[in-house]
Symmetry: C2
Subunit: 394 residues, 2 copies
């Protein structure tokens, strides 16, 4: 039984049009999108099935996209996607994690060759997470006369400007994010196991807000303390929070796969001056960056504004970017992997673009994050969350 789509069919059709227009400009006949976020955005498909090979095929010759995946997951596509049943292809179970038989061989033979796309220019997402080297070899082997090129994240770029409804979902995610941070402030204290605080974060994240259930975020809560905060991506364990350590909480609520990350730092005890200096620098850097965040300016203008402030305070960010686009996504990343807020990035800002603006400081033996998710408006910028922008002390 087909579910109500999260967006109108008209919105999906418009997305496909946008992608086809970009395909035509780049001389692509057939595009294969394997990034689960792209699959969702193009078709409505949503399921934890990206641990097997799957994708969406768009051809300039056909109105609707084609979904392919494991036969068992075709039932999920029937429930979630807007396309007609004929455009959903399931490969047999024997192709699942079988070293001798690869799903992409089946896809090449049963879809692309049968559709007579064997001499086309076919673009694949060559650096997207679930498109493995082997998938590429198996697929190309079935179509020796096709011209395979890199899609260079074409669909990710098409996703950059969000619709009103997408912004609405991100605002719900943002309200969940705020609720989580408030919960953290309520429960965190010296001596409490980190795993306990994370259990409360998850409880709050999934319970959601005002009747909107929370979805799983594409990155787990990150909350490194003390020297571990120099190593941003270490996850928690059962050891307790210690006195006189800073912990930053990089956390996102998620609603219908849309994210809205935000970070805040909590110091338990009495911080020394370097933390107050870093707080001051970060807040000023955020304000300077937001000043530059408006239509017509570029991503590098935001990055340069941040760098100028950091330079003034003598802080070296080791060339780290200070943000990236966000939206619909699946593990392992909530970013869109297109532009970055970085000094060399020339992307022009447009209304509806959304970023996690994160001028964090990661030094050899400590770190601090105060970050905001933002969207570009017709005249400037808004933050998704409304939460005190400060170093919290407990």
């Amino acid at each position: 039984m087909r579910e109500k789509l999260p967006f109108t069919k008209k919105e999906y059709v418009q997305r496909i049009r946008r992608v086809k227009s970009l395909m035509q400009q780049r001389r692509i006949d057939v595009l294969i999108a394997t990034d689960p976020g792209n699959m969702n955005w193009l078709t409505g498909y949503d399921g934890w099935s990206f641990y097997v090979h799957q994708g969406v095929i768009i051809s300039l010759d056909e109105d609707e996209p084609i979904w392919f995946g494991r036969l068992m997951d075709r039932n999920a596509a029937l429930i979630k996607c807007y396309m007609k049943e004929d455009n959903l292809y399931g490969y047999p179970e024997k192709y699942v994690q079988n070293l001798d038989e690869h799903p992409m061989t089946w896809i090449g033979e049963n879809i692309l060759n049968k559709k007579k796309w064997d001499k086309c220019v076919i673009a694949t997402e060559r650096d997207s997470y679930y498109y493995t080297a082997e998938a590429h070899f198996r697929l190309t082997a079935t179509l020796p006369n096709a011209n395979f090129i890199n899609a260079n994240n074409l669909v990710n770029w098409a996703r950059g400007v969000k619709s009103t409804k997408e912004i609405e979902f991100m605002k719900i995610a943002g309200r969940i994010t705020q609720k989580i941070h408030q919960r953290v402030l309520d429960v965190v204290r010296v001596g409490i196991p980190k795993s306990h605080v994370v259990s409360q974060i998850y409880e709050t994240a999934i319970a959601g807000v005002d009747g909107y259930g929370g979805d799983y975020p594409s990155i787990v809560p990150l909350l490194p303390s003390g020297a571990d905060a120099s190593a941003s991506h270490i996850t928690w364990d059962e050891r307790p929070f210690k006195k006189n350590e800073a912990t930053y909480f990089e956390i996102s609520g998620c609603y219908k796969r849309y994210h809205c990350p935000m970070s805040r730092t909590i110091f338990m005890g009495k911080p020394n001056q370097k933390y107050y200096d870093a707080e001051k620098a970060l807040i000023e850097a955020i304000e300077a960056g937001l000043e530059q965040a408006k239509p017509g300016n570029r991503t590098c203008d935001i990055a340069n504004a941040v760098d100028t402030v950091m330079h003034k305070y003598g802080i070296d960010r080791n060339g780290a970017r200070c943000g990236y686009p966000i939206g619909v996504s699946y593990p392992p990343d909530w970013g869109e992997r297109t532009c970055s807020l970085r000094a060399t990035d020339l992307t022009v800002l447009e209304p509806g673009m959304t970023f996690h603006f994160m001028p964090g400081i990661w030094q050899a033996d400590w770190g601090m994050e105060i970050t905001e998710s933002i969207y570009i408006t017709d005249t400037g910028v808004e933050t998704f969350c409304d939460f005190p922008r400060e170093l919290f002390i407990k």
Copy 2:
């Protein structure tokens, strides 16, 4: 500051020996492991950093493995890995999600070429999740004279037989799994939003058991109801549980990245006969499979025992396998992607092997799962969890 390793250094050294022996047998000089589970098992590395390119390199020429990843994550490697600092390589920040500069170019030039491995047989994990087609192209372009071959999951196979300490971690994960299922039975009822139940699942999973904090599982809780249970991988939303529907809960606790999944089905209301029949068939199939699970028998012997029972009850499982190996892992999968419990699989069972044994039934408009995580002992088999094996009715 280096942390205490989850396993003794001796155990890691022994693992590397096992891998090198397999490499030599297969005429591999250098192996590049990019599966985060393999990286953890080989070196102790653990972090949510697999959204950027990273890996572990093992050469027959060198004692220790080499870790490579983003410069920012090198700090995490310093804290988590047992190798000396010289064997940890971080690529500069400008290579992070930058379409013009690829980390694998840096790896090829700064590690493999400098070590003079440019004419070696180099094996990569060609179908592992985070080894993209582009990563392969960029890497091979830097070493035109090397002979690149597929590692065919060599490290995953080496992980098959677990150590005593690994089994101990899985037992802790199993205790968390039981605790979650008990929590589900306590809170689930008609009318309650599914997201609320999931929030309680996560709260319990991460709080852990007896002082052992829970880690994030590599697959989110799956709990499809009614017709959605035909589509196993659809995730939850805020809609409430309905009367007269079955829901199966496929859930794993996780401890230090080790998993122990188990599924149970709950019917809310009064089930019709088909559910009782399916329950009977599944329990009998599990008993028949466990009977075959002993050293010397093969994976196909378990699968055939299940199929015989299913056939007797007239249930068609559409060729789906009935289990897979489990252990240390990262999203998107808690399986090991080597053998399967499947009629064509000839893997010989050995003491210390661990499986999620899951003879689920997925039909066109309903589904049921009763599953167990198991380990092969010297004489037979044990289940990790001790939880009533039945269809629960509420």
